[in-house]
Amino acid sequence: MAEKRIGLQTVKLSNPPSILGTATVVGPKEGEGPLKDYFDIILEDDMWGQESFEKSEVKIQEEAIKQAIFNANLSSKDIEYLFSGDLLNQIITSSFTARQLNIPYFGLYGACSTMTESLSLGAMIIDGGFADKVVCATSSHFSSAERQFRFPLEYGSQRPFSAQWTVTGAGATVLASSGNGPYITYITTGKVVDFGIKDANNMGGAMAPAAIDTISQHFKDTGYSPDDYDLIITGDLGLVGKRILLDLMKKEGYDLSKVYSDCGIKIFDGVEQDTHAGGSGCGCAAVVFNGYIYKEMLKKNLNKVLLVATGALHSPIITLQGESIPCIAHAVTIDNLID
């Protein structure tokens, strides 16, 4: 019997794993944004002395993981599993990072939902008694993602208002079977939801139904309501996705307007930094969670947070073939208190 399951898609962790430490590395643009004081390392140059953007992304992810392990007062020998993923083909960034770190590794692909996918699996592995200390991480890099999914950097194209800006950055979380919190208490795993949106410049609109599906299922499974949370934050729905989510959640009977935010909207100043609908990419939810949310939870300004990272699981080839964008959202409850 799976006695930790509640409802259709949620698990309640019986020994909630604690976050021991986190770390973030961000690029220069993110370092000029409204959350700049929450990041551990801000790069002056997004190449970071490497010869390609891909190598730079590897270094960014590697340093974030090392820094998180250091911040947790551990060494990499103490870590039993590494869960990580990224946006590049065959998740090459994470595999190169895992090669450097020498930690048993599960590579994940959840597009921009990877932060909560890795936290979900890491927390379940610990709660299941298979490990005591794990690291969950993910990264993205504006320039490496842009060349894989869009146009060359120097090509003079115009971005529509619904387009989002891929975050350069990585975040890592060290989870352990014991600690002083914050704790991971509930995990709601999302289903793939696809309403047939084909426009890769409207990720927010494509992903919003997946986030709505997961959040409302989370309320049904746990019995929680929006008022139980200090913050419900999606990964990278941006301005378009936010409008859709608030509107449709209201129609389902949940008013999120007081507690809702989106990592993609928080990370940039959309007007000053010209990022249109907001930030996106695996790194978006990763740096906002491991930087802003974690530090605000330590200060007790936030005590109960639902992090819902959202992923558009498309590939450039399939988009050219005229297929729609399958989307997913995974929710994780982070709590300062456990009962």
């Binding site: 060359p152 950097l153 120097e154 194209s157 949106i197 409207n202 378009v240």
Partner: protein, 146 residues
């Protein structure tokens, strides 16, 4: 809500593009590039070149300027403001070839620079050359080669 309804609904949630501003900027930027081309043309005439050489030399200079501005990271900013006004003149064509060539240099000179160089301009070349052949054939048929 079914898929079709949702797609329509989501479409309405996207902020409308600023058409008037975009068209105005495209006109100004595109016009400025053409004025610049005209200045070059007039100067070349002054140097005593004939009509044919002036046309070729003007194109060469504009392609060089477009490529140079791409290389120093300025043309993408002009394109962001000017849209089609920056893309349609020959400087934009230079930008569409030089930008992937720069981008894929790390993948080597054969499979990177050379193979990817026409990834944006390729369709323009294929259909441009293709349609010029068709026009040429029609011209031949209707004028009987005269």
């Amino acid at each position: 809500m079914n898929n079709k309804e949702y797609q329509k609904y989501a479409e309405r949630k996207i902020p409308k593009p600023t058409y008037f501003k975009n068209i105005l900027y495209a006109f100004v930027v595109g016009g400025a590039i053409c004025v610049f081309g005209q200045i070059i043309r007039n100067m070349l005439f002054k140097f005593g070149l004939d009509e044919n050489s002036v046309t070729i030399a003007t194109s060469i200079i504009l392609v060089f300027v477009g490529s140079f501005l791409t290389g120093i990271g300025i043309y993408d900013k002009i394109g962001k403001i000017g849209g089609a006004g920056a893309a349609i003149p020959i400087t934009g064509f230079a930008n569409s070839i030089v930008s992937p060539a720069m981008e894929y240099k790390r993948e080597g000179f054969i499979f990177g620079v050379a193979a990817r160089m026409f990834s944006i301009a390729g369709p323009v070349l294929v259909y441009g050359v293709g349609s010029s052949v068709i026009v040429g054939i029609l011209y031949l048929i209707f004028t009987k080669g005269r």
